[in-house]
Structures are given as structure tokens and as C-alpha cells.
Symmetry: C2
Subunit: 433 residues, 2 copies
């Protein structure tokens, strides 16, 4: 391995990215190519039989036919969503977690996007589906899918996060040995396209005392939430597309409400009704589940934003660092429901020292942002942490700081710093920093 002077960025091996990339640190297995090498002059002739014999089968035969809708490799079957829990009848209430540690970049594959289903998934015939807007409006309106398709649309890249994401870290007295998927997989990122709701509300007109909207889904349990009108007039949309195609049943086909930066539950799937009112309705889906209980027992209403948060995905829970020491690129995601990520700091020494990580562009508001920092692990036990700051100056609290604000059984909107314990044998585990 080439000896090079590497500039450090913070304690216990965090490195300056530029000097790391320029140094060309070898990570490959460098050994002779043996039988696989073919000199340039042989390039356009048949390889000699001894070389050819060592080729894998797929290099010697024609491949298979492709399909109308391509699928992932059979060798990636294990990359799946994880079902957290369900009622005795599995279809009623289920939470499916994204394998977030397998992702690179800021887009989650649509099929792996997390979902929380309160009443199972309806398979809705788009030709029978309508969106109604009524209540405190000048003109109640009904839109079928074909009409909606003609409206001006926008496409935006945003994260979506369940209010209950990372709940186990909020309430469990001891840290559970869980993967990033199990701990924080109720969060994903996608490109969403649809009609800004303000265009539709402009058509219905709004009465002077209109202040709230009840959004209701067409699922068997009529999932519904109350949302302030101001937000809906701002950047909310009726989303019809995800990552370039019509949204999937799991994500609300044929349409869902999309409310950038606000808790997942508000993003009502299978949206069919918007009732404009002058006050919130305190539906079952918002009173019982999505309120924060403060330290003194009072209930804070309403808590809509998903606050600034980050997660190192490599290395993360249940992973194993393959070598006892050596170079690793620490990689993770940061996001904020308030806007853009401004900075992510990483610590490799349990929080004693911190270094700013590299943020990958484009840095977009209310979207995932990928961060990385190179790290030379010396093989000793330690704790890795990441701490995000957004453009409003909001910073992630520690777990203790977060818990000080709320009742011990409150678990929604947890955005405490995530700590990963690295043991000397390379095992990575969730811990409480």
C-alpha cells in the first residue's frame, strides 16, 4: 500500500476528502491477471481454447431475452422491504420498511419505498375514481383522473418520513440491535409529479372562513387527516407519478396527497375527498396516533414538520466491517422538512471531535441529501455519529436532549442523533452514543 501523507479532518481517523481521493489508496486485490488477460493484438480474434475454457458460462453463450418491464437481478432478491408488524389479519395494519442502507444517492426505488397501511391496500380502478373538493368553497368540484391529467404538473424530488420513524430509539430503555432498515426505514426519497393543489383550490374558490382541509382516502377505513389550508396552498400537490411512472397501489394509486416536509400520515393515499373547513376534525388517525405528548403530560398540537435528521447508512446496524482496520467511506443521508440541508458533521470518536462531511449535489429543499467522509479505521472500538443542520439553523438534538422535551412514552417525530457502535471485530451495532 502506497505510503502517503493524508490530511486528517477530525479525531480517530476521519480524513480530508480531497487528500484521500488524490492519494490513490489501494483497496483492490492486486494480483496477476493470469488466464484472463488478452493482449491487444488478440482482441478481435477468438481467444485460445484454454483461456476460453476458464470463462464463465455467460461469456460463451447468447443471453436471454429481455422483458417489457425489466426486473432486478435474482441475485438481489434479499434487498426487500421489511414488514415491521401487522394485526392478526396481515392486511389490516402494516408498516413496510425501506432497506435504506442498500441505497446510494437520494432516490429510493418505488417498489422499495416505505409504506404504512392502516387498512390494507385497495386496488382502485382509475376509471371509477374521483377527487372531490367541497365544503367552504364557492364551487364544489369533482375531478376524474382523465381531467386531472390535463392540469399543469410539477415534478419535485422530496423525502417522505413517517412520524413514527426511529420510534424504538425514542422509547426503548436499551438500544435494540437493529439494522438501519429496522430502526429508520420508515423514510424514503423519490421524484413525485402531480398538480399543485393551489391550482385546484383556485378553481373551487375559497370562502372567507376557510382555514383547514380534511383529506380523506378511498381505502376501506377512510383514512383521514386535517391539514391547515396555508400549507396546502403552498407546496402541496395531488401526486400521480412517482419516479417517472404512475404511483403504485402501495403508494396510493391512482393519487395521493403529497405534502413536502410534513409527516407521512398527512400524505393521504388513495385520495378521494378534500373537505374545506374552518377547524380541524380531530379524526381518529390524528388524535390517537400523531400527537406529541410533552414532558408535563400536555399534548402538543399540531406537530406537522419532520425535523432535521441524519443517518449513517454505511456502516450501520448489523453490518460487519470486512477488515480489522483500513479505509472506509462513511456514507449516509440527511433531510429536513423545513428546507435544505446546510451541513452534516460526522464524529468517529463518540462525539469528542467532529468534521464536516462532503454533501453531494444537487442539494434540494425537503429532499434527501447524501453525505460522505473517508475514514481510516485503526481497529479500535469506537462510536460513529452524524449531526445535521438545516438552512434554518435547526440542529439535531442528542437522544437525551430530545427525550427531555417529551413524555417518556412519546415516540413521534424522533430526530435524535444516531450512534453506531463499532466493536474491535468489526461488528456494527445501534447504541445510544
Amino acid at each position: 500500500m502506497r505510503k502517503a501523507f493524508l490530511k486528517t479532518a477530525a479525531g480517530n481517523g476521519l480524513l480530508d476528502r480531497r487528500s484521500f481521493l488524490q492519494s490513490g489508496i489501494a483497496l483492490s486485490t492486486s494480483f496477476s491477471l493470469g488466464a484472463f488477460a488478452a493482449p491487444v493484438s488478440d482482441l478481435n480474434t477468438a481467444p485460445n481454447s484454454s483461456i476460453a475454457a476458464s470463462f464463465p458460462e455467460w461469456m460463451k453463450t447468447p443471453g436471454r431475452a429481455d422483458t417489457e418491464y425489466g426486473q432486478p437481478s435474482i441475485y438481489e432478491k434479499q434487498v426487500q422491504r421489511h414488514l415491521q408488524k401487522s394485526a392478526p389479519e396481515a392486511s389490516l395494519f402494516s408498516i413496510w420498511h425501506t432497506p435504506i442502507e442498500n441505497q446510494r444517492g437520494i432516490i429510493t426505488p418505488s417498489g422499495l419505498h416505505f409504506t404504512v397501511n392502516h387498512n390494507g391496500i385497495p386496488d382502485i380502478d382509475p376509471q371509477q375514481h374521483v377527487l372531490m373538493i367541497h365544503g367552504l368553497v364557492d364551487k364544489p368540484l369533482k375531478f376524474d383522473v382523465e381531467s386531472l391529467m390535463r392540469y399543469p404538473m410539477v415534478s419535485v424530488i422530496h423525502f417522505l418520513e413517517c412520524a413514527g420513524n426511529t420510534a424504538t430509539n425514542a422509547v426503548s430503555l436499551s438500544p435494540l440491535d437493529q439494522s438501519a432498515q429496522e430502526l429508520s426505514g420508515q423514510m424514503s426519497g423519490s421524484e413525485w409529479a402531480g398538480i399543485p393543489l393551489k391550482y385546484l383550490l383556485k378553481e373551487t374558490g375559497l370562502k372567507a372562513n376557510a382555514k383547514w382541509v380534511i383529506a380523506e382516502g378511498a381505502d376501506g377505513g377512510s383514512h383521514s387527516r386535517s391539514i391547515p389550508l396555508d400549507k396546502l396552498q403552498d407546496d402541496a400537490m395531488v401526486a400521480l407519478y412517482q419516479n417517472g411512472e404512475r404511483i403504485r397501489p402501495s403508494q396510493g394509486y391512482p393519487m395521493r396527497l403529497f405534502v413536502p416536509g410534513w409527516e407521512g400520515n398527512l400524505n393521504v393515499k388513495w385520495l378521494h375527498r378534500l373537505e374545506v373547513t374552518d377547524q380541524p376534525a380531530y379524526t381518529k388517525d390524528e388524535s390517537g396516533l400523531y400527537s406529541d405528548i410533552l414532558d408535563d403530560g400536555r399534548i402538543q398540537r399540531f406537530s406537522f414538520h419532520m425535523d432535521v435528521k441524519s443517518l449513517i447508512t454505511r456502516p450501520s446496524g448489523k453490518q460487519l466491517l470486512p477488515e480489522k482496520k483500513g479505509f472506509y467511506e462513511i456514507s449516509g443521508l440527511a433531510w429536513s422538512g423545513y428546507g435544505k440541508i446546510k451541513q452534516v458533521e460526522v464524529s468517529a470518536d463518540g462525539g469528542k471531535t467532529w468534521a464536516p462531511a462532503h454533501l453531494e449535489g444537487p442539494i434540494l429543499p425537503k429532499s434527501l441529501t447524501r453525505f460522505t467522509i473517508p475514514w481510516r479505521w485503526n481497529g479500535s472500538e469506537t462510536v460513529l455519529l452524524s449531526r445535521a443542520t438545516d438552512e434554518l439553523g435547526r440542529v439535531q438534538p442528542t437522544r437525551d436532549q430530545w427525550r427531555d422535551q417529551y413524555a417518556s412514552y412519546s415516540f413521534n417525530h424522533y430526530n435524535g442523533i444516531q450512534a453506531w457502535h463499532i466493536a474491535r471485530d468489526g461488528i456494527v451495532e445501534n447504541c445510544y452514543g
Copy 2:
């Protein structure tokens, strides 16, 4: 429909976007909600039996269970890739076109991304796959997938386009009645993540006379291309991820070369070998197929970049404008292999007058850019066109201007302006402007 003063942007109905959005032009079917309306006071009580009886089935019963890897709705089955042609044995040579007119935004779903397969698709076991770098290097190296996973990675959003995209418009004397998918579906956009090739070449070191690289795939026909070393040292990568998951077999699993902005063929799938040389190898895949034949019969070598181009996707070929006149949002995509899109102009009067379209951010280099402009169609026959300019000042030529440069049978790298004929009955057809 509310009468409003709408600012025009150019001839035959192109409108100023801001005034259009502010005017609230009604596109919905406005009629009484009838039995579906539920007053606020009834919200948390069971609907009365006559209302409930009219609800679709899915609103009255629990839905189905979700799955580990979610799939599109059964009602979207018709949105598929289209197989252009194949050898008698379908698996050998096939071109699969993206249904680009169905896309919104700048991300193409991975399963719908176009592909050109010269030798069918191999199903490669990643544990048996290696990437070799040899030839004019200081140290030949071999990388297995596990090693590559530890390298620093980047994720970027880029388009990919086949050199032969839109070839029929280049060579067919009369315009073929084809959809956007059939005409220009050999083009897609995705988020790609992988290792910048310069990091790997830094490890092998390069000899003084190293100038080209032959990239070879592990498919049955050893697809290969020669690529200038400079480009590979710039922004080329060994891509392992597409839209958040490992790339699919159709796209080169377990890895492909990704060369931003350069013709699709260079982006060698199932990449297994990079041989550094001092000259191009003139492989069968580059000499016979991907050279441009100039008007005087000489062959231009090499033509790597995909030039600035645009495509109105709504309305586009084989579509039908649902109303004889009225408001439509013209929507499309623009891209350039040289960098960012600077401007897209749209004409609704066959090229007499042009207006700049709205470009949706983020505007990224060598990526798709979505453009839109509102249009009030008065029901008369006309032709719609789009013309893109990139940040280097390169502008799309007309079809005639493009053809003047090349031999009449030359069809690669066609980037002439696309024209769509609108008949009075609303039928949209490909035409030659």
C-alpha cells in the same frame, strides 16, 4: 368558464405561464357532488346506508396485503417498453424503447429504461464477476464486487441515449406515423451511482503513452468499445446502482461503464475488462455501427457526444387531444451531452413564432430537463415544435439542416427538431415540420 385576460407568449395560442396559472382556468367537470357529499358533522359517524351503497367496493372492505417489493398497478399494465426489432432468435439483438411520453419529471423507472442488447442478457453471478484493468498501466488490477463496494462513490442524475435514437426521422423519406416511444424511446434518465473511474485508474497508474481504453462486457458477444482516456478520467464511472438499487440485468448487472453525455453504446454493460492502449481498436461494435457518414462519403471519427435535443411528449405522436379546442399544458424533455440546457423554445404555429418554455429545476448537466408551456388550442390544424439550446450555445438544427451535413443513409446522432402535426380532429402525428 371564467373570462380572464391571458397574456400570450407567441402565435397560435402559446400563453404566458404566470398569467395562465393565476387565472384559474377551469378544466374540471363541475357538477353537483350528489350522493358523495358528506357534511362535516357526519364526518365521524357511519354514512347512512344509501350513501354507503353507492361507494365502490374498495371503500367498504379492507384492502389486500402489501409485498416485499411493490409493483405497479394492474391498471398500468399497458405502460411498457416496446421491442423495436430483433434477430430471428429474439434474444440476440433487441432494442427496447422507453414509453417516454408516459413519463413526468426527469427520472425514468428502472424497469422501463431503454436498452439495446447485441447479444441478449447474461444473468451474471456477482460472486464470480471481476473487473480487470490492464494494458498500458503500471500495475494491472482485478476487482471483485465486494472490493468495489468499499470505494468512494458518487451519485448523479443523467440521461442516456442510443446513437441511433430517432433514426427513422433521419432517413425515412416520409415521416412515419409513430409515437414518441417508437420514434425517440431510445433515451431515458436515471440517478446512477458508482465509482468514478479516475479513482481506479489512479491505483493502476498509467504509462506515458496511454491514450485510449477498450471497454469490454461479459456478455456472450463480448461487446466492446474504444474510449479516449481523457473522458474516462473526467466524469466516467463504474456504475453499480440505478435509482437507488443495484442496476438491473437489462442495464448491465452487476456493473456497467457510465460515460455521461456520450452515446449509449459506449456505456458498456456487464463491464468486466478495461484495457488501456495507445490507440482505438476499431472493434466491430464501433466501426460498423456507430460512425457518422458525411455528405461527401467520408466517415467522421469519432462522434461521441449526444448533441442538444428536445422532444414534446404531450401532445405527441398517436395521441389524441380530447377536446376540439381548449387549454393544454405542452410538456416535454430536453437534454445535451455537452452540459446543461439553457433554453427550450416552443412554436405552436409551425415555426413562425417561438416562445421560451418554463424549465423545471433542478437543471442539471447532461441530464433530462423538463419543460412546459400552456397552450390554448383554437381547434385549427397546426404544427408544434420545440427547439433546445444548451449552455455552450449549441442549438438544435432543423431536419433539413441535419441532413445537409450527412450522407442520406447516415442515421446516428440525429438531433433535428421534432415536429408534431395537430389535425382538426385532435389527432397528433409525426411530421417533418
